[in-house]
């Protein structure tokens, strides 16, 4: 993949400038720049897979424990109000914990994005909790709350605006590029 960045020109932050192709590993250090929709969405998909997987495992473990301790196995009905409530409580805990602790859920770690305060500082406990509470609001009305990530000047979703947070890239794209060059250079030499 080639582009202006390969010609020595700095690549723009996604969405911040005129149309340009971003190389596979950009020359620019993206750290601190507003994260785009795709990175955030893919991170969310990973988080869904992880959190739902853990929840299913917990249900399975509870069922197994019941069968061992009481002798009767529990068959969880996904429509059961308690299961639904437990699921939402778990989801809240999952996101609130990671956002207040480090600003990064496991999915976000994978994609190299992080929740920060609107001014760029640590999100903190209060904003992390508000963000986790406001998160479901962005799904309401066909997910219009997420439109701000694509259309907004600061790429903030509804829950970001409510909580006073923003999502930025926290990985060093330039370092990754150098790593890639060193790796492939080494492969060519050997």
């Amino acid at each position: 993949m080639t582009g202006p960045a390969d010609a020595g020109l700095p690549a723009p932050a996604p969405g911040s400038g005129p149309a340009r192709r971003v190389p596979l590993t950009t020359r620019q250090n993206l750290r601190g720049h507003y994260a785009g929709f795709a990175s955030r969405f893919i991170a969310f998909v990973f988080d869904c897979a992880i959190s739902i997987g853990v929840f299913e495992l917990a249900l399975g473990a509870a069922s197994f424990a019941a069968s061992v301790l009481v002798g009767t196995s529990i068959h969880w009905n996904r429509g059961n109000i308690w299961v639904v409530l437990a699921f939402f409580a778990w989801q809240f805990f999952y996101y609130a914990y990671f956002w207040t602790a480090s600003g990064k859920t496991p999915g976000m770690v994978l994609l190299g994005v992080q929740v920060v305060g609107a001014e760029g500082g640590h999100a903190g406990t209060r904003r992390g909790l508000i963000r986790a509470l406001a998160f479901p609001l962005s799904f309401i009305v066909a997910g219009l709350g997420f439109a701000g990530i694509l259309l907004g000047r600061d790429r903030r979703a509804l829950h970001d605006v409510i909580a006073g947070t923003a999502v930025v890239y926290c990985w060093d794209a330039r370092e990754a590029r150098l790593r890639s060059l060193a790796r492939h250079g080494g492969t060519r030499r050997s």
Partner: protein, 158 residues
């Protein structure tokens, strides 16, 4: 007898009366120079002593360096330089110790997982950029901010 004549003669007065230019005009200098062994003459010259007496700074002050450099064929000069020999003289260990090159080399030796993560993130960034480009076209070159003011310097702003 000769000594007596020489003592009686005022040699200086005699020389003053001689028209040296006329004498020199009658001398065939080219013929004379042809008979002189310049190499032998130069062998007798102490060049170091001559150079000691030359004020090189004064000489260099009179040199137009820009004109001198303009006359140099840099490409030809570089072609004569053995880059491999120069590279061989570089103290790689000191370079690694004093620069970020070491960190890069350590990072480059990390696992395939790192490579996969880098690749995934890069693709996601490319997708981000594509989406942002589309939106920018739809919104007639709408430009967003690069990042929060606390994290991105004004120079990085579009």
């Amino acid at each position: 007898m000769i000594d007596l004549v020489l003592e009686a003669l005022d040699v200086n007065a005699l020389i003053e009366r001689i028209n040296l230019n006329a004498v020199l005009a009658r001398v065939e200098l080219n013929d004379l120079l042809r008979r002189v062994d310049l190499n032998e003459a130069l062998d007798q010259v102490d060049l170091n002593q001559v150079l000691d007496r030359v004020d090189l700074n004064q000489a260099l002050d009179r040199v137009d360096m820009d004109r001198l450099v303009a006359r140099l064929d840099i490409d030809k000069l570089i072609a004569r330089v053995d880059i491999n020999e120069i590279a061989g003289r570089i103290d790689i260990e000191a370079l690694v110790k004093n620069t970020d090159l070491g960190a890069v080399m350590v990072s480059s030796s990390t696992s395939l997982v790192t490579e996969a993560v880098d690749l995934g993130r890069s693709h996601a960034v490319s997708l981000d950029d594509t989406l942002a480009r589309w939106v920018s076209r739809l919104r007639r070159n709408h430009k967003g901010r690069a990042g929060p003011p606390g994290l991105v310097s004004p120079e990085e702003e579009p």
